[in-house]
């Protein structure tokens, strides 16, 4: 009677450990999937909000935020060689 009871307790413990192992694996897999989804969403967001006139990295000559527009009449200053 006592021996049967000990076997049953061991079986319950092993079953619990198997369940915990399965849950741990599923939680890990879910984390990887969520990370991938977040990374994809974040990367898409950054790309889609970059304006066409944004400044390139330090490795390029900086383009103007707005190109010069046509003016008329005299200038307030003159850009020429000195």
């Amino acid at each position: 009677m006592r021996q049967g009871s000990e076997r049953s307790a061991a079986a319950v413990r092993d079953d619990g450990l198997r369940r915990i192992s399965r849950l741990t694996w599923r939680a890990g897999a879910a984390g990887v999937i969520c990370s991938a989804v977040i990374a994809a969403a974040f990367g898409h967001h950054v790309k889609s909000t970059s304006p066409a006139t944004s400044r390139p990295s330090q490795g390029s000559i900086l383009i103007p935020a707005q190109p010069p527009a046509a003016g008329s009449g005299s200038g307030q200053v003159t850009s020429g060689a000195s």
């Binding site: 390029s60 000559i61 900086l62 707005q66 190109p67 003016g71 200053v77 020429g80 060689a81 000195s82």
Partner: protein
């Protein structure tokens, strides 16, 4: 501060040329000028080729030994090396010997007055890769006899620096032109800053050219027509082609470029003179709006530079 209809203006001499300072508030003019004076004096003390006490003169005289440099000089050298790298070496800070060889070894006013005999041809410049800057130790070193001249970048860089400091410290809109290298910072006027582009910055506001409007960044013009003189009977100018060590023989007499900063605009306009025929494609690829004037006065534009009216540049 309350914006005024017309910006307040101050004009003064610096670096052997003329500076124009415009600020959006009258009350900002005096403190803005004080900031500009202090910064420009510091830049001159750091990198003038004609001052024996400058850091640049010490570096040129060091015979290749490592030399301590100030933070300001490190920034100026960094800007020159950046210009060289981004223009593929078309704008090179090691043109010191080449400029001396054509007589540009003193203040330009003296050269223009007296002319100079032609020295020996210098040949290709040592090249910017022989300039070593250790920012951490604040040391610089020149290899293979390289001699620095920061004239191609320091003025435009100084314009950016002064304009940025004035806008940040005073909180006004500012335009600073140093000999035609134009930097703007802070809030622009509602109708933008109006800049007349032409061959000579000292020409009047109605000189032959084109008026454009800018709100930010910088605009610079390089030309072979103004800082030009006779060396032993040869007509020469100050824009050196690093590949030959001689004044650039360019298709263009004048190039104006708008960029995100005055320093970059100036690098691009100088590079365009050196690149000659290839300049338009280079400017288009870099998305830099530009206006190029050939020796016969024909105007071409690149990368979205605005069309002018029926105006045609003549000389």
């Amino acid at each position: 501060m309350t914006a005024v209809a017309a910006p307040a203006r101050d004009t003064f001499g610096v670096f052997g040329t003329t500076a124009t300072l415009l600020v959006s508030e009258q009350a900002a003019l005096a403190p803005a000028r004080a900031i500009a004076d202090a910064e420009l004096a510091a830049v001159d003390a750091a990198c003038s080729r004609f001052r024996p006490d400058s850091e640049l003169s010490a570096l040129n005289a060091a015979g290749g030994a490592a030399t301590q440099v100030s933070e300001l000089m490190a920034d100026l050298l960094g800007a020159a090396l950046r210009a060289a790298e981004l223009t593929g070496g078309a704008v090179d800070p090691t043109c010191g010997q080449a400029l001396a060889a054509i007589g540009y070894d003193r203040d330009f006013a003296e050269i223009r007055a007296a002319g100079v005999p032609r020295h020996q041809r210098a040949g290709p410049v040592a090249g910017w890769r022989n300039v070593h800057l250790d920012r951490g130790r604040r040391q610089a070193r020149l290899d293979h006899g390289a001699q620095l001249d920061l004239g191609a970048t320091a003025k435009a860089w100084a314009a950016d620096r002064c304009a940025g400091l004035i806008a940040a410290r005073i909180g006004c809109g500012v335009l600073l032109s140093l000999g035609g290298d134009v930097a703007v910072s802070g809030p622009a006027p509602a109708d933008c800053w109006r800049v007349r582009v032409t061959d000579d910055h000292a020409a009047g506001p109605d000189a032959p050219g084109q008026t454009v409007l800018i709100r930010s960044g910088g605009l610079a013009t390089s030309s072979t027509t103004v800082r030009a003189w006779s060396a032993g009977g040869d007509p020469v100018h100050h824009i050196i082609d690093p590949a030959t060590g001689e004044p650039a023989r360019s298709r263009w007499r004048t190039v104006s470029v708008a960029a995100g900063s005055c320093a970059d605009a100036n690098s691009a306009s100088t590079a365009a003179i050196v690149l000659g025929e290839a300049a338009i494609e280079w400017l288009e690829r870099a998305c830099l709006p530009a206006r190029l004037v050939s020796h016969d006065g024909q105007v071409q534009t690149a990368a979205g530079w605005p069309a002018a009216g029926p105006e045609r540049v003549t000389r």
